[in-house]
């Protein structure tokens, strides 16, 4: 069993990198040392009216300094609270959580959509293969995209066509005539659904990172399940825990 740690992490720095999207570096004792790309952490609010942790994907890992970078969007009052954390502040964090991506040496698509982009950055850093990085945004207000350039060829799609290919990530793949042998993806359900179909049609291995409302974050409460094609060994029904068996699944093993 992968070890999990509960820590009071120190905020190293935080900045807003796009409208309502924040980049937060925290210093941890143990979590960074054990984290893998595709895993997430639970961040806890200080405000007592908000009791549940917020699952936030890991964007970058600085093992040497125990640093974790979390890039998240303000989606409610909890993430708004986090966005006010200043350097030196403390924040309770539990992690690393979930399974993370399995790194392979195949020509890869790294595909992120919206706030699904951040976890692909650490993956891009750690993957040792030919990487084509496809990022989908709503509009020209891009974020993180320059940071990916060091790790592979970056292709951008925007919904409004104001930057890169107009359309979604698959439109960008087709427009540039890209090909790969494995897909790693994180993003909204419609994007993942389209990629699952694309991968099946093209016979490509496809790994997707799922999202679901969570409570405990560690596999105990059964809140964040997704439907699975086969009966899951732990649940004994066709449900898998996103926080424990996931968040990364083989596209063909989950139904959504």
């Amino acid at each position: 069993m992968a070890e999990k740690f509960e820590e009071l992490a120190r905020v190293v720095r935080q900045e807003e990198i796009a409208t309502d999207i924040y980049s937060l570096w925290i210093a941890t004792e143990q979590i960074a040392a054990h984290a893998k790309p595709g895993q997430f952490v639970s961040l806890y609010c200080n405000e007592g009216s908000r009791l549940l942790p917020r699952p936030i994907s890991i964007c970058e890992i600085d093992r040497e300094n125990g640093g974790l970078r979390l890039v998240y969007r303000i989606a409610g009052e909890g993430t708004r609270e986090f966005s006010n954390l200043c350097a030196g502040a403390q924040v309770k964090v539990v992690g690393p959580l979930g399974n993370g991506f399995v790194l392979q040496k195949k020509r890869a698509f790294l595909i992120g959509g919206g706030i699904g982009i951040p976890p692909m950055l650490e993956l891009a850093k750690q993957l040792d293969c030919e990487k084509q990085i496809v990022l989908g945004y709503r509009d020209r207000e891009l974020f993180l995209e320059e940071e990916f350039e060091a790790y592979g060829d970056v292709f951008v799609a925007t919904e409004d066509g104001s930057e890169g290919t107009k359309g979604n990530v698959l439109d960008a793949i087709r427009a540039h005539g890209l090909h790969a042998d494995v897909i790693y993806a994180c993003g909204p359900a419609p994007m993942l659904r389209a990629l699952k179909e694309y991968a099946a049609e093209n016979g490509i291995e496809c790994w997707i990172s799922m999202e679901e409302r969570m409570a405990c974050g560690i596999g105990a409460c059964l809140a964040c399940v997704c439907r699975s094609k086969e009966k899951d060994a732990h649940s004994n029904v066709k449900n898998k825990r996103v926080c424990k068996e996931g968040p990364v699944f083989r596209a063909e093993e989950v139904e959504f």
Partner: protein, 302 residues
């Protein structure tokens, strides 16, 4: 100083247990908590066969609490006996298995399967608000509470705790009915039915529309119901509902609870059960309480 309590002849090393459904069968939290320190582990509800539960989203946060509509997803009693009970047996704590069903027969089937198992007590969930049949339907009618209690009691080899719903006009009526049916103990409160609406999408926050509310928001209702029930019956009561701190646990005990279960607080702080045990100990030291039993129901007029 003696923190132990007697629950239907079972001696718990301290009164702190886990609330069913928030702690799985203990495995996940064993990475954060020494299960050997707990008075008991109360497992997630288990049925005669595997249940798939409700569609997602199954949880939503509310002010000072949360709503859940898991729908009692569980792996069924066979896998539970094969996997979960052996896991828990590795620890020096008591095992309380929470039992759910759609019909009396289903409850009885689970209880019979457990009869030769190393289980200390049974907690019968007749109060889940999130399943269509069984669950709360049993728990809101005193005749049905009495009948199902009697039937389960007849088949059970371990002491039977009936878990009551707070979604009733008069909790004492249900408490008395369970006692009349032969319950060895009561636990309360299960969750209070609530609803959350996403005002931006104008849709229900939960796929199930309604969900069971838990967390500190419900604590005063739980304390009231434990107090009222303790005045009405003579069997022990396990108090739960929004216990976040040792102070909350002590409040519940003063109201009349012999033991307490900690639920939603685990989500806010995975180590909370041990912290509550430590906090109760400090309170007993501070006020020179020799035995925890002195505190049970010790609330008095101002």
């Amino acid at each position: 100083m003696d923190m132990s309590v007697d629950l239907c002849g079972v001696k718990l090393k301290n009164p702190v247990m886990t609330a069913s459904g928030t702690f799985g069968s203990g495995e996940e939290y064993s990475e954060f908590v020494d299960l050997n320190r707990l008075g008991a582990v109360v497992t997630k509800g288990v049925a005669n066969v595997p249940w798939e539960g409700n569609p997602t989203p199954r949880v939503a946060e509310v002010y000072g609490g949360m709503l859940n509509a898991i729908g009692l997803q569980n792996p069924g009693i066979d896998l539970f006996i094969e996997r979960d009970i052996p896991f828990l047996k590795k620890f020096d704590t008591k095992i309380i298995v929470n039992v759910c069903g759609h019909t009396t027969e289903e409850y009885v089937e689970v209880v019979e399967h457990l009869s030769d198992q190393p289980v200390d007590l049974l907690e019968i969930n007749i109060s889940c608000p999130n399943v269509k049949e069984g669950g709360i339907a049993f728990g809101q009618n005193p005749q049905m509470v009495e009948e199902i209690t009697r039937e389960i009691r007849r088949h059970a080899k371990q002491p039977v705790i009936m878990k009551l719903s707070p979604n009733v006009t008069d909790i004492t009526e249900m408490a008395r009915a369970a006692e009349a049916g032969g319950a060895d103990a009561l636990s309360m409160i299960n969750t209070i039915t609530g609803m959350k609406i996403d005002i931006h999408r104008r849709c229900f926050a939960l796929a199930n529309r309604t969900g069971g509310m838990s967390g500190p928001a419900v604590h005063p209702v739980a304390v009231r119901m434990v107090y009222q029930s303790a005045q009405a019956v003579s069997i022990p009561i396990i108090g739960m509902g929004g216990i976040m701190t040792a102070e909350d646990a002590i409040e519940m005990i003063l109201a009349g609870a012999t033991a307490v279960s900690v639920g939603t607080a685990n989500f806010t702080n995975p180590r909370v059960t041990e912290e509550i045990i430590d906090g109760i100990k400090s309170y007993m030291e501070r006020y020179r309480v020799e035995s925890l039993k002195e505190l049970v129901g010790a609330v008095h007029e101002r």
